[in-house]
Every structure is written in structure tokens, then in C-alpha cells.
Assembly symmetry: C2
Homo-oligomer: 316 residues x 2
Amino acid sequence: MATVSRVLNKHPSVSLKTRLKVESVIQRLQYEPNMLGRNLRISQSRMLLILVPSISNPFYSKIVQGIEDVARKHNYNILLCTTDTDIEREKIYFDLVKHKLADGVISMDPAVDWDDLIGEGRNYPVIQCCEYSENSQIPYVSIDNRMAAYKAVKHLITLGHRKIAMINSDPRFLYARLRKEGYLKALEEYGIPYREEWSIHTDLGFESGQRAMRAFLAQEDKPTAVFCVSDTLAIGALKGIKEEGLRVPQDIAVVGFDNIQFASMMNPTLTTVAQPMYEMGCEAARMLIHKLNHPDDPLRSVILDHELIIRESTMG
Amino acid sequence: MATVSRVLNKHPSVSLKTRLKVESVIQRLQYEPNMLGRNLRISQSRMLLILVPSISNPFYSKIVQGIEDVARKHNYNILLCTTDTDIEREKIYFDLVKHKLADGVISMDPAVDWDDLIGEGRNYPVIQCCEYSENSQIPYVSIDNRMAAYKAVKHLITLGHRKIAMINSDPRFLYARLRKEGYLKALEEYGIPYREEWSIHTDLGFESGQRAMRAFLAQEDKPTAVFCVSDTLAIGALKGIKEEGLRVPQDIAVVGFDNIQFASMMNPTLTTVAQPMYEMGCEAARMLIHKLNHPDDPLRSVILDHELIIRESTMG
DNA sequence: TTGAAAGCGCTAACAG
DNA sequence: CTGTTAGCGCTTTCAA
């Protein structure tokens, strides 16, 4: 019995002869090991919990791909859970870790209050990805959102725009707040006053982008450019502009964020800020797995590079 | 110890008094049950394995959403695995079931040969979704792919097109073969000869659609309409057409398949065959969970409705 | 209604 | 190098 276990785990201290014998019996009996027993014994689930706001946004899918690839390489499986940015669901899912069904978590959710969620004095392995709480000690991987937004808006200003609107997401997201700061910084730098009525918060769906755009276009004084915090919003905005019979970029320029694959397929193609989605996922997974193997090593957060990609939606 | 277990599982035979006592102690000790022990004991993982070719295609994401919602409701978690339509990966993932890490499978992959994969005389709970092997006994949920394709192509013919190309996916996929049959049937019905050079097989990426379109447009005798077996391909095709300076639908009409959200956001908006993606996922999950609870109940496969959605890419 | 005891299938320490 | 044994944390008889 122990020997079988050793064969299965490729433990070196098994003679060739017995190994072959065991293997042949395994073959003959069609024996399949039961990992439930193993998991209990070694007290690991070899599962990584991934918390995403939504799976239908290609931005998140791409990150998940990165996580999955690295996880596989280290013999971990992925438990993908969509939270809809709902605190309650987040809590329920986190129970999977508390209950040992997952060894650690990578979260892309605003994460209400990890310190509270985790509880006093516990040390659950948690990595934040894209989204993070500034005041907690939990390591994260992200980009410089403020700077990225600043560059995007500056690009518009450089093109001569002075009436620049912003379609933002839920301010519970840190990235939403940071990108707004970048937006404001760019405006300020060029002495452009901020206009409340040109700033909308919404969810990341296409329709929301479309709706926001409609709202801008219904105003008497219309913006000539729009900065959207996600490509999905920008795509909705393009649609909203088109249905008013206006042209992009001649009448209104549009900038998105993320550089999802669809961005370059649009008509016009979308200017956007590229995030290294796949790489972020990989890095987050690497960090988590490292933490699992070395629980006491302090982990440093990682800021990856972004890049402004200029396409037709700002420069026809 | 047994009593604690009973309290945790809400077993009725616990007096109010002891239950409260146990609960208060649980609270005080911050006790968290270890599901690894439970899983071993009851010999269930309460996990559902989901096999998808790729997660970046919104078509699959939507189905997964449906599965997840139903699974949650029944207290199952989801193990999402992307196979890239690679037989080897499929096998490796299926080991999760053999090893009891998942209680059952929903597969959207061509599934080489389930009967072979599963092995003689075993009865693993497997449901196929969208994609299935015709000759196996494994239940599936899908649409009538042949009919759907037929209707799509007929729509083009009715509009006056006689030169209709097809961008198809890997013929390992049954749906690819069935949709081709529908395409051929429509052509035949109207006495239009099939042209080998107007039929391409490729993967589902945008670029592939774009490339296929370029190939068509490089031919001397160009088609005036294209039927694509997925919206992602169709979106790529739109791009390919645009880069040649042609107009949709005036010069070339395009039909997609799936009705992913992006389809209505394109410019022009995309005519496509809507599949009830979310509902298919729900149904597959329901079937699987039923099978888990009643292993010997025979399950009937399900064919859901599709719908041709006509938009600008065929009728400007 | 509660407690004692067995055992799910595995791994790891120990002895031989 | 191999076999024996204990025990991971839980549920479920069985007896009290």
C-alpha cells in the first residue's frame, strides 16, 4: 500500500522490479487513485481561487488565461468564480479558502476589506490583481493607472481637444478613482476646467457606454472627445456616436482602455491603453504560488508597464 | 464531535440548547470546518468540470455563466478548464473526474472519443454542450446546426446572392460539419453550384476571419456574400473587407453565428444566428446535476431553439 | 438527543 | 528497499 503510493508519487526509493510490478497491477485493475484521500492527508487542495467581477469581459478572460497557464505548470487547478462585484458573493467564495477547498486566492475585485474578510491574525494567501486596496498589506500586481489615464487624456489634448468627457466605472474600483485623478491632472496641466456634467460613472457593459454617450450628446454643449476607462465602454460609445450620425474621430474622438482584442477589430479601430493582461495574470499566479511555498517570505507588489496605442478613433 | 458535525449540517436531531452551545463555541474558537475531510468521507468533491476550447470567445463565456449560476444554486463549484481543442489536455483534465476531484463533466469540446476516454464499463457523469459525438450514448444539449446554417444561407440567397462563400471552423467540430451541410443544402435547393475555393476551414480567431476574407478577395471571381460559422470570424471578415475598401453589405454581405454581444456593437451591426448560450449552459448543468443525483436515470438530449437575427451586415 | 467508534483513501514516519 | 502503522477531519452507524 505504501509502496503503491510511492510508485504513484515517483518516490525514488522503489526498485525497478517492484515498480514495474505495481504498475502492471495498476494497469490490470484499472486502478485510479483517489485524490480526496491524498488532499486530506497532505492538507492541500491544489486549487487556486480566482475572483473576477465578470467573465464576459475579455479583459478578465485574458488575465485568467495567464493565471491558468502558470497554475497548470505548477500542478494547480483553477476555481473561477464571478462575483459581480458583490461583497456577499465575495465572502461566500472566500469561504472556499477558509474551508481548505482552495489553497489561495487571486482577486480582481474591489475587495471591500480584505483585512476584515480574512480575520484577525490569520494569514491566508491572497494576491490582488489590477484592483487592490491601498492601505492593506496584501501584495498586488497592477499598472500605474493614474499615469496611464493621464497619458491617454494628454493625447487627446495634444490633438487639440479641450472638451473632453469621461466615461468611468464604479468608483468602488480603485482603478476608477485613479484614472479619474489622471484625467483631472491632465486637464489641470493644460488649464482646462473640469466639468461635472461630462463625467459619468457606470458599469462596464456596452450598453452603459452607449447610454453614457447618448447622455453627453443630448447636452447643449457637447464634448469633442471621450475618455473611457474600458474598451467595452468605448465600444458602446462608438455605437452611441454612430447612432447620432456623428463621425469618429472627426466629430468626436474616443479613447478606450485595456486593448482587448476587439479594440483593433472595430470600425474605426480603437485608440486605447494596453494593459499586459496575460502577463499580469502570470505574475499574479507566480506570486501566489510562491507565497504558498514560502508563506513567510514577504512579497513585493508589482507594477507592470502600460502603453498608449493610437488608432483610428483618435486619428482618422 | 459528532454533534458538531450535526449542527454544521443542520441535522434536525439536535436540541436547541446544544445547538446554541455548539454555535457559540464555534464562534468563540473561530472554528472553520475542513471540507477536505468531509469530501473524503462522503466521497464527493462537489465540483463540476467544465471543458471549453477557449475562454476568450464570448460565446463560451456566456455558456459558462449559465452553468455557473445553476451549479451555485445546487451547491456545486466549477472547475473551468480550457483545452484548446487538444485531445491530450482533454484527457488530462478528465483525470480530474477519474481521480474524484470533480463529480462530473460538461464538455464543449469535440471530444475525440468519449467512450474510449471513459473506458469500458465505467459510467462517469458526462454531458456534452453544443458539440457532441453523434454515435455515442452521451446526452447533449445543442441546437439544430444544420437547419440554422441553412436558414442563414437561404437568407443570403433570398437577398439575391448567388456567390456565397463560407468561413468554417475546424472540421473536427461536429457543428462545423453540420453547418456546412446546411450551407450545401441551401445552395443545392436554389441550384447554385458549390465552389471549393469559396470554402475555408480555420480556427475561430478574428485574425483567421480576416485572413480568410483576404483570401476570398484576392480571387479573381469574388463572392458577394460570406457565411461565417462564428461571430468572431465574421468580425474578422468585416475587418478584412474594410481594409480592401469595400462596403458591407453593398459590396459583400456577411452573416455570423452565435449572436455574441459584440455582434450588435459592430459597424455595421452583424446579421447572425442567435444561440441561447446562457440557457444552453443552464440546461447542461441541470442535466449533469440530475445525473449525479440519479445515476441510472436515462437522460434525453435536448435541442434548443435558434433564431436568425437580421442586421445591417446583410441589409444596409 | 447525544457520544463513542469506525473508516473514507491516502502519505509519512518508522522499523525491519 | 519494503511493509506496518498511525492519522489527516470528517460523517455515520450503533448504543446508550
